[in-house]
Symmetry: C2
C-alpha cells in the first residue's frame, strides 16, 4: 500500500483560503466555536490518527477480510482496537449536536475527518460512517424517548448504526420492497424480511448496532408511498439504556466482493424482530430524503480519498522508477536512466490525478459548507444553499466517484505491470474505488435526480 | 460468471461479408485452402470448444489460482485436461506453417480462435498463447537444428513457450537489462539472471517449456544494441528430441495479482542455465521487432474478449432485472416493474459495450488479415499492408484494450451493486481486463510508437 501522508496544507488551504470558513461559521449561530485555529488543530489531530492508526490497517483489511460465524462477524485484525481508540478520542461526536453529547462542529469538519480516515482505510471508515444516517434519522424524525434511548450512544460511538434499504429484488427502485412490519399490542412492530448489502450490518467493534429499517405496514399503499421507517436494534435496549437480549435479527452471510474487503457487507434476516416506528407511517422515504444530500456527499468523499491515495502512490513511484531518458536530455545523468516522472505521459497522468483530488476536495468541502448554511443560516441563505445543493449534490456524487475511479486506474498505469501486482497496493485502490459509483445511487441514478430537479 | 455464447454469426459476418476473406486468401499463395466453408467450420468447432470446455473453467481459475511449489506450478483444476484436449484437437497448429506440422491456416483464423478461447477464459488461453512468440522467433531467426529440435513440439502444443524480457529494474526500457550469457566451450551459453512477470513461465500442462530469453553477451555494447536472444529450455532436449534433465532455470515464486489468477506469472531464476543463441549476437531486439505487431494484435484480442463477455453478461441481466417503469409507459405491465433494459442509461451502456465489441472485432480481424498479406502477398501489396500495420497496430492495441476495460466497467455498472459481488462474475472481468493496458507495451508506449513512426 502506498504510504499515506495526509495533505494537511491542501486541506487547510481549501478550508481557510478558498472557503473562508472562519468567517462563514462565525455568522452561523451555533458554529461560533469553529475558529481557524480550532479547525486547523482538529485537522492536524485527524491527520495523525489517520496516518498512524488507520493507514497500517488498509492492506490487512484487504488481505484478511471479514469472517462470518453464526453469532457475529469478526473484523480484520486491528480494526476493533482502532475503533476503540477512535471512540476514546471523541471522533464520532465531532460534528454531532451538543444536546446528544456531540461537539457541535460543522458538518465540514466531519467530512474532512471522513476524508482523512477514509483515505487511510476506506473499508474501516465505513463502520463509523454508516452511523451518521441512523443519527440523522432519529434526530430528525424520532420521538423524545427514541432520541434519549439511542442518540447519545450512537453519537459517542459506543453503538454504531446502519441503513437497511436494499432487498434482493430492489435497490434503486425501493417501491418494490417487501419487508413487513406487524403492529404489536405494546406499540412496537414485528419486522420480518431479508435485507441485503447492509454495510457494517454486523461486526465486533461496538456493543450494539442500531438498524434503521425500511418496511411496510399491513395496510400500506403499494410502491414508494407505503414505506415506513423503523428502529431495530441488534440487541434490545433495556429501560436503563443497557444492552439486553439479542433481537431477532441475524446476519445470514457476508458477501465476497471486488474490494472494501475489510467492511462486512451483510445479508440480514429479520424474523419478527422487535422494531419501533420512526416518524409518520408510510412517510419513510420522505423522511430519508431530508438528509440524502448529506449522505451522498459522504459517499462522494470516497472518490476524493482514492484519487488522493492513488496520486500519492503514483507520485512516489514516478520519482523513484528509472526508465529511458527525458526527451529534453538526461535529468539523472549519473544513473542508468531518468525517473519516469520526466516523461510527458507520466506527468499527464499524475497531474490528472492531482487535479481530480484537489478539485474534488474543493467541490465537496464547498457542498459540506453549504449543508451547514442550510442547517444554521438565515432562512434566505438556507434556501439558496439548499437549492444549490439540490443541483450540485448529484453532480458531486457522480463526478467525484467516477474521477476517483479513473484516478485509481491512472495510478496503476503509472506503475506499469507492477500496478497489477497486489503487493504494491495500487490495484486494491481500483477495487475499493469501484463500489463508489454503485452505492448511494449509481451514477445513472444521480443523473436521473439531476434531470428531475429541472422538471 | 456470465454464460459465454460464442457470437458465431458476428464473427462470420466480419470474416465473410466485411473482409471477404475467401477472395483475399484465394489470391495469397499458400492460403488457398482457406475457403469460406472451411473457415466457417473452424469457427463453429472453435466456438464449441470455447463454450463447452473452457468457459466452465473461467470462474474456477479465478477462485483457485495457481499454486507454487519448488518443483512446479500447479494450474487450477481442469486447466491441464482442457489443454490436453486442445492439443488433441490440433488447435495449437491451426495457423502454423505446414513444414513444422502446422495446418497453414491464415493468422486471422488463429486470432479468431484466440478470441473464442480467450473470451471463455483469458487466463487459460495465455498458456498456449505465449507459445506463438517462441514459435515466431525460432522460425524466423533460428538455425536448421534449432528449428528441427523445437518447432514441431511447439507447434503441436506438446511443449509451450515463453518470452523472457522483463527484469525487476526494466520493463519498457529493455536497454537496462542485466541477464548475462557466457559462451561455453561447446557453443552453448550459460545464462544467469532473474526475469520477472513471465506469463506461463512454469506450469503442469506440457512436457517442456521453451523460454526465449533476452540477455547480454560479455562484450555486448550498453543499451538496446547489446541484447541477444537465447533459447533456454526448461528441461534439456536430448538429441533424439526427447525431454532430458531439468535445466538450471527455476520458478522462484508466482505473483499475486489483481486478475488473470489462473495464469502463472513467474519470477524465473536462470542460474547458469544452458542456452542457445538465436540469430545474430546483439541483434536480439531487432529480431523481436519483426513480429511485435502480431504479438500486439494477440494482446489486443483481450480487450475484444472482455468487451464481448461483459456485454453478454450485462445484456442477460438487463433483460431479467426488474426496476422502475419505462418513461414511455409500462413494458411489462403484468410484472411489478419493467426490465431495466427499457431505461435509456442502461441502453446507452449496453450499446456502448456492443459497439466496442463489434468494432474491435472488425478492427482486429482486419489487422490480422493485413498481417497475412504481409506474409504471403505480392511485394507491392505486402509493403502497403506493412505500412498500414505500422500505423494501426499501436492504435489497435491501445484502443481495444482501453475500451475493453471500459466495457467491463460498464458491465458492472449495469448490474448495480450486484456487479461488485464476486458470484456474478462481472467484477472478475474488470480485474482480468486491467492487465491488457499494461503488458505488451502500456497504452503510453503504444502512443510513443505511433508518434515515432511519423518522425
Amino acid at each position: 500500500m502506498p504510504d499515506y501522508k495526509a495533505p494537511v496544507r491542501d486541506i487547510q488551504f481549501v478550508v481557510n483560503e478558498v472557503l473562508e470558513s472562519e468567517k462563514v461559521y462565525q455568522s452561523l449561530p451555533g458554529y461560533e466555536e469553529a475558529t481557524e485555529d480550532l479547525m486547523n488543530a482538529i485537522i492536524d489531530e485527524g491527520a495523525r490518527f489517520a496516518e498512524n492508526v488507520l493507514a497500517p490497517l488498509n492492506r490487512v483489511g484487504d488481505e484478511e477480510g471479514c469472517q462470518w460465524n453464526p453469532e457475529c462477524v469478526t473484523t480484520p485484525e486491528g480494526y476493533k482496537e482502532a475503533y476503540a481508540q477512535y471512540v476514546d478520542n471523541g471522533w464520532p461526536a465531532l460534528s454531532a449536536a451538543p444536546e446528544y453529547g456531540g461537539q457541535g462542529m460543522p458538518t465540514l469538519m466531519g467530512i474532512i475527518m471522513s476524508e482523512l480516515a477514509g483515505t487511510a482505510d476506506w473499508a474501516w471508515v465505513m463502520y463509523p460512517g454508516l452511523s451518521h444516517g441512523a443519527v440523522d434519522t432519529v434526530a430528525e424524525h424520532g420521538d423524545a424517548e427514541q432520541k434519549a434511548k439511542y442518540l447519545t450512544k450512537l453519537v459517542s460511538g459506543e453503538w454504531t448504526g446502519t441503513m437497511c434499504l436494499t432487498e434482493s429484488q430492489c435497490g434503486s427502485d425501493l417501491g418494490l420492497l417487501r419487508t413487513k412490519a406487524e403492529p404489536q399490542a405494546d406499540g412496537s412492530y414485528a419486522i420480518t424480511g431479508t435485507k441485503i448489502f447492509i454495510s457494517a450490518g454486523e461486526h465486533d467493534m461496538a456493543d450494539n448496532i442500531v438498524h434503521i429499517v425500511l418496511a411496510r405496514l399491513p395496510d400500506a399503499p403499494a410502491g414508494t408511498k407505503g414505506i415506513s421507517l423503523f428502529i431495530v436494534p441488534r440487541c434490545n435496549v433495556n429501560d436503563d439504556g443497557s444492552v439486553g437480549e439479542r433481537n431477532a435479527v441475524n446476519c445470514a452471510s457476508i458477501e465476497k466482493k471486488m474490494g472494501i474487503h475489510g467492511n462486512a457487507t451483510c445479508v440480514l434476516n429479520f424474523d419478527g424482530a422487535r422494531g419501533f416506528l420512526i416518524g409518520e407511517p408510510n412517510r419513510g422515504l420522505n423522511a430519508m430524503f431530508t438528509f440524502m444530500n448529506t449522505a451522498r456527499i459522504g459517499t462522494a468523499v470516497q472518490g476524493l480519498a482514492h484519487a488522493e491515495l492513488s496520486f500519492q502512490g503514483a507520485l512516489t513511484y514516478a520519482k523513484d522508477r528509472l526508465a529511458m531518458r527525458s526527451l529534453t536530455g538526461p535529468k539523472n545523468p549519473d544513473g542508468p536512466a531518468d525517473p519516469i516522472i520526466v516523461h510527458p505521459d507520466v506527468r499527464r497522468m499524475l497531474l490528472t490525478q492531482k487535479a481530480f483530488a484537489e478539485g474534488s476536495r474543493a467541490f465537496l468541502y464547498f457542498l459540506a459548507q453549504q449543508g451547514d448554511i442550510v442547517a444554521k443560516g438565515s432562512e434566505e441563505d438556507a434556501k439558496v444553499a439548499d437549492d444549490l445543493m439540490a443541483l450540485l449534490t448529484p453532480i458531486g456524487k457522480a463526478f467525484v466517484t467516477e474521477v476517483g475511479f479513473e484516478s485509481a486506474n491512472l495510478g496503476v498505469q503509472v506503475y506499469g505491470g507492477h500496478g497489477f501486482i497486489r503487493e504494491w497496493g495500487m490495484e486494491q485502490i481500483v477495487r475499493d474505488a469501484r463500489i463508489a459509483m454503485l452505492y448511494e445511487g449509481t451514477t445513472g441514478i444521480q443523473a436521473l435526480d439531476l434531470s428531475l430537479i429541472h422538471i
